[in-house]
Symmetry: C2
Subunit: 515 residues, 2 copies
């Protein structure tokens, strides 16, 4: 740190202040000695450009954002706003209410909810009082909120940042947005689950990111199959973590890891492999229902019956064509208890709408962009009486979508507008600052988005160039003649056409042209 | 912490897993023994309602948000969205671009920027790597962003949360939103400053919070007066901190603190008191210009000349009537170098629009709701070549405004709507679940905001009650007769009037009625 290797700015301030003794540097002299003013300014504002320290300080000072985080520039913000607006519109179309929770929670609120990933949680320094951690997702704070406020049913959305000390990579950050929609409450089976998948489908379609696929499984089915194949129950979690890698590494590697690292017999792994590599439509569910081993497992059969009901609802919602049942989907988080799902993008810009059964070869290589599932026990973990509130939800992982949308935008429109300014108030002559200010005041008070250059006498050329650079479509020009005639010269930046508009009609004309 | 005093959930899982030996609890049995399933479920989902641990765990578990933070419920969110939308509209009306920065910064980025308040910064635990702190405001990250990206001019807004370990109190939180607008770049004097004050004025007017007052001062004027009165320059900062208390405690107390704690002579303090208790319009500036002491201080005279120019601009912008020059305004932050300002609400619901000179008695007692100023040296502190980018900005402190708006909303409309749902799809008869799902799918795909109850066979009464409770204005009812006739019965929830609408006209009818 700069402040250790070299004097800190305030250290330096004190040194300078001492070097100048009160006798030679009395306050009453301050006004008349320009040099001392400079020193005082430096002193007062901790100006680190001052000599003795600046070089070292500068060298040691790291100008960056923390690892795995990034700033969002105006162009990215513009795209982000559009993406958020599509997501929010869908959430609201389904009657969701918004809530907000703090960025940090008591550490114990997050304890025991994320399995092996708990090591990725950011802890705050204990500065006298509570042990705090940055939220890891929006689901656990939501469950805490429900239990704390004794809410037994709600359809809520939340769009906020979450924090994970993961290894940063392509589209993977340590700080990232999640857009969550959840339905809490006792309802008839699979109806809320189907609506969640419908929303996921709507959003991914409306974002126009290309082909996508929603993989669906059920924790009960997965664990039922693990049990059926002879995996000891204390290895369910750790084996699931390996299963989750199947979309990244080959089955051979997954198989080896299960045998060598998880200590499963080759027979068990091979039996398991027959099941967890299955994926496809309704036929897969039927196949499993008739399987001699699986059909003996009550938990698995419950899940299969639920998935079939879910499929019938998804058909009515017009979503089934994008859904594939994938027995190898495990999802890392501890809290899921039923249906789980994950959306992935398909490779290539022009994917067919229908996903063929048993074909996940076309999945693009950067992981899921949306996921979720049912978690019926999480709220109960926070409730003093263990009272359960069944929940199901989705979480849209916005960063990967954004980086795709940004790439797309980069290609289509090089000069994406980052402001919404409708008109620049300009003058071709000097000494019209006050007139420009008067005109812009009138425009602002009518709700017109207007700018003027913060120069007393800007050149007309630089005013026009500003419009071209920032995409402002209109210029309202005033000068001696216009003021005398009570008009404003309205210029279309693209066509360069200029028309004199009576001052009283200007606002209507601007509104008309930019609506 | 619960996990120390009692077994943690995962600890308990392992214990249970060991107690049940593989011989008596083989996986293949799992499907047929209901009891073991319950145990497995608990085991898999870390169900802490399980016997041995639950009671203690529950007792020790604190269900709360961290000190000084709070959840935002759907009603508050609805008001918040309205407030944000007004603020954002004003920012965009003035041509601002949006940016976003991470919630934490490298600790050294924040070091030496906040004076005595630095102790309120939240630090993160060093988890191998960087020393991080939660942002204290949006200004320092903005300056870091400008320096890092070598941006020399920008008009930007940012609406984000900031973090201060302050003592929580009425409308004062440790996590709170700031809505910032800043203009960076070399421009003609006081033009950007005037626009900032114009925006502050617009937003506070449009929020309709009642009367308000914008206090304006200049750091150079304040320090010039301190020098003029004989305050030693190494005490400028600490004396300013005391001056800043003048809006909370009486002059007598401020005077005593300056003499007893800051070690100033009573003569100096009394001389100072003559100046810093001055406030009012242009006359105050004229008075100081003619003051025999102040007129000798170049820095103070520069500031006075700037404030006069600022006043002339504010008059054109129609803002001057809410502005008072207040020589006792100091502002705590280190980085200000010129004009500073702060907006306060006036007491009483019906304040006059014009604020009389020398009258700040009516200021409501809960501090500023918006503030800002000029900081010309901050970006240079981050730049490797010390290259300066002059900046000026405002920050709207939203929490106090929100708590006021919420109180107001509470009084006016008891039943504020938290969703935007236009229609509930319902049925009076059982067995119409699939038909409801078909109809709602059609509505959603036309962009209609629609809900249905997640019940197979809900009663009509409970469907109507849901509408009344949540404010949904329309119900689309289907049953045997309606399906046969190809119509939907559209019910107005308020008037209870019902009309049969041909199915093909339904979307248009809903849009018409809810537009």
């Amino acid at each position: 740190m700069a402040s250790i290797k070299c004097f800190s700015a305030s250290c330096w301030t004190i040194l300078v202040a001492r070097r100048i003794s009160p006798s030679t540097f009395t306050p009453s002299l301050l006004g008349s000695v320009p040099n001392s003013q400079v020193i005082t300014k430096a002193l007062l504002h901790q100006d680190v450009t001052a000599p003795s320290c600046s070089v070292d300080q500068k060298k040691n000072f790291l100008l960056k954002t923390p690892k795995g985080t990034h700033d969002v520039d105006p162009k990215q913000m513009t795209i982000r706003e559009k993406v958020f607006s599509i997501i929010l519109k869908s959430f609201k179309r389904h009657g969701a209410e918004g809530i907000d929770t703090p960025v940090f929670e008591l550490k114990e609120t997050l304890t025991g909810k994320y399995g092996e990933d708990s090591k990725l949680i950011y802890d705050l320094k204990d500065q006298g009082g509570e042990q705090l951690s940055l939220r890891y997702d929006l689901t656990v704070p939501f469950a805490r909120y429900l239990a704390m406020n004794k809410i037994s049913h709600i359809k809520r959305y939340q769009i906020s940042k979450v924090y994970r000390r993961d290894n940063p990579g392509r589209g993977r950050y340590r700080e990232f947005y999640q857009c969550d929609f959840d339905i809490a409450g006792h309802y008839d089976p699979l109806l809320p689950d189907a609506e969640c998948l419908k929303i996921m489908y709507e959003i991914l379609s409306e974002l126009e990111l290309g082909g996508f696929l929603i993989k669906v499984n059920d924790r009960r089915l997965l664990y039922g199959i693990l049990a059926t194949c002879g995996v000891p129950d204390d290895k369910f979690r750790t084996v699931s973590t390996v299963i989750d890698k199947m979309d990244k590494i080959s089955w051979d590697k997954v198989r080896r890891e299960m045998i060598e690292e998880k200590d499963l017999s080759p027979e068990i792994v091979d039996r398991l492999g027959e099941y967890i590599r299955l994926n496809g439509g309704l036929a897969v569910l039927e196949h499993l229902c008739n399987d001699s081993l699986v059909s003996q497992n009550t938990m698995a059969m419950e899940a299969l019956s639920d998935l079939k009901l879910l499929h019938s609802y998804l058909e009515i919602f017009g979503v089934a064509d994008k859904v594939t049942f994938d027995l190898g989907l495990a999802r890392g988080l501890d809290y899921y208890t039923g249906v789980i799902y994950e959306a992935v993008l398909l490779r290539g810009p022009e994917e067919p709408h229908n996903v063929p059964d048993n074909d996940t070869d076309k999945i693009a290589g950067f992981g899921s962009i949306a996921a979720g599932g049912r978690y019926d026990d999480l709220v109960g973990m926070f409730d003093s009486k263990g009272r359960k509130v069944p929940c199901v939800g989705i979480s849209i992982g916005i960063e990967r979508i954004l980086s795709m949308a940004e790439r797309k935008a980069e290609e289509s429109f090089k000069n994406i507008r980052t402001t919404e300014t409708q008109v620049l108030v300009a003058s071709a002559q000097p000494h019209y600052l006050e007139e420009r200010m008067r005109l812009i005041t009138a425009l602002w008070s009518s709700g017109i988005k207007a700018e003027m250059l913060h120069k007393k006498n800007p050149k007309l050329l630089s005013q026009l160039q500003y419009c071209e650079k920032t995409g402002i479509p209109l210029v309202a020009i005033i000068g001696e003649q216009e003021l005398r005639d009570g008009v404003v010269k309205l210029r279309d930046v693209t066509t360069r056409e200029e028309v004199n508009i009576p001052r009283e009609d200007l606002i209507k004309e601007i509104q008309k042209r930019t609506s």
